[in-house]
């Protein structure tokens, strides 16, 4: 189980909704950072992912290492949150 999970989203992004649905379906809780309501955190999202795209999921593991998953990609999310 990861220590915590943060999902960067925007209001209109369907793939963001899927990441949230997927995490909930697998029993994970997460913090959501909505870049439409919180645009000041955009630079942080870009720095974490190197991309100009949401969703960005940041998984902080028990040893405080971080894994970043870009987009809605269950094949990458599953091992990252295991």
């Amino acid at each position: 189980m990861p220590k915590n999970i943060t999902v960067f989203t925007t209001n209109t992004c369907g793939y963001c909704l899927m990441v949230k649905k997927w995490l909930s379906a697998k029993g994970h809780t997460y913090e959501e950072v909505n870049l439409d309501t919180n645009p000041v955190r955009q630079q942080e999202a870009i720095a974490l992912s190197g991309q100009l795209s949401v969703p960005i999921t940041v998984i902080t593991k028990q040893d405080d290492s971080k894994e970043v998953v870009i987009g809605y990609n269950p094949a990458k999310l599953a091992p990252a949150v295991a």
Binding site: T12, C13, G14, D36, L52, S53
Partner: protein, 313 residues
């Protein structure tokens, strides 16, 4: 190995076509499972606004419509699973589907996999993917507040998404290969309202996406009128040049496709594999609208019911 579970119908995709079909089949007590590899709601979920779906006089957000379609299908028992179907094999009475969760069997199958964005296939496109080159305005548009953008395309999607992107961008160059827009008249009129922000460049092909320090800086094109190079300074590029049917997973299945890879069906929406039906954007002859996709979904469901009748005795 445990025996694969068997369902009355497995639907591939959970876009408007499949969600409408599932609403119909579940209301008939037909046990229905859907597999969705992307977004529930399909392309409708990544469209920012829908003005032409009957019953919503003020229009509604694509994501909102998708949620409503999903809720209505689930209300009657549709089982939507997050995963992809990788292969369909005809085993006679049943069809076997290989999915990302393992094997599953079905008496009937509905393929409603829609289509995906076409790529330009030009230098710089792969290199700057998601770092300046995008195919989803509702996902990535927000990164371009007060920035310059290039949009490539001249159809409904390109014009609709250009209008959406004016919320964020300071200026948009819309590059159109032909000498007219193929978008509907309504959308063209709407676009005119944004002429202070949007410059439309006809007869302009897109040749190369260029960048510096990991960032897109411009697009190189050619004017088909005089063969001269034209350059557009930009922070990002959104590409909407049409769609490709999601049928590559059917290769080798024996399901007949037309020459652009869309699924051929008869009048009853059945494919060349008995018991396997197709509906929506993926079907050869589809009119690529949400209303027609849901209509075809309803028709396919009734055909599936008919097909299942003699098979249930």
């Amino acid at each position: 190995m445990t025996k694969a579970e068997l369902h009355d119908v497995v639907m591939v995709g959970a876009g408007p076509a499949a969600l409408a079909a599932a609403l119909y089949t579940t209301r008939e007590d037909i046990d229905t499972v859907l597999y969705e590899k992307g977004v529930i709601g399909g392309l409708a979920a990544i469209t920012d606004w829908v003005d032409n779906y009957p019953g919503f006089p003020d229009g509604l957000a694509g994501l909102d419509l998708s949620e409503k379609l999903q809720k209505q299908a689930e209300r009657f028992g549709a089982d939507i699973r997050l995963g992809a179907v990788l292969k369909i094999t005809d085993k006679g009475e049943v069809k076997e589907l290989e999915t990302t969760d393992g094997l599953i069997q079905a008496k009937t199958v509905l393929i409603a996999t829609g289509s995906d964005y076409k790529k330009l296939g030009i230098p710089g496109e792969e290199e700057y993917y998601a770092r300046g080159v995008h195919y989803c305005a509702t996902c990535d548009g927000a990164f371009y507040r007060e920035k310059r953008l290039v949009v490539v395309g001249g159809g409904n999607s390109a014009v609709q998404e250009t209008i959406f992107l004016t919320r964020f961008a300071s200026h948009i160059d819309l590059l159109v290969r032909g000498d007219t827009l193929r978008a509907s008249e309504v959308l063209q009129q709407e676009l005119k309202k944004y002429s202070d922000k949007v410059a439309v460049h006809f007869n302009t092909t897109t040749q190369k996406i260029v960048g510096k320090d990991n960032k897109v800086t411009g697009v190189q094109g050619v004017s088909t009128k005089n063969g001269k190079n034209v350059n557009f300074e930009t922070d990002g590029v959104f590409v909407f040049i049409g769609l490709l049917p999601n049928t590559s997973f059917l290769e080798g299945s024996g399901i007949a496709l037309d020459d652009i890879g869309m699924i051929r069906t008869g009048d009853n929406l059945e494919t060349s594999m008995p018991g396997v039906f197709a509906a929506g954007d993926v079907r050869s002859g589809a009119t690529m609208q949400i209303a027609s996709a849901t209509g075809e979904g309803a028709t396919a469901a009734l055909m599936i019911r008919k097909y299942l009748e003699p098979h249930t005795h």
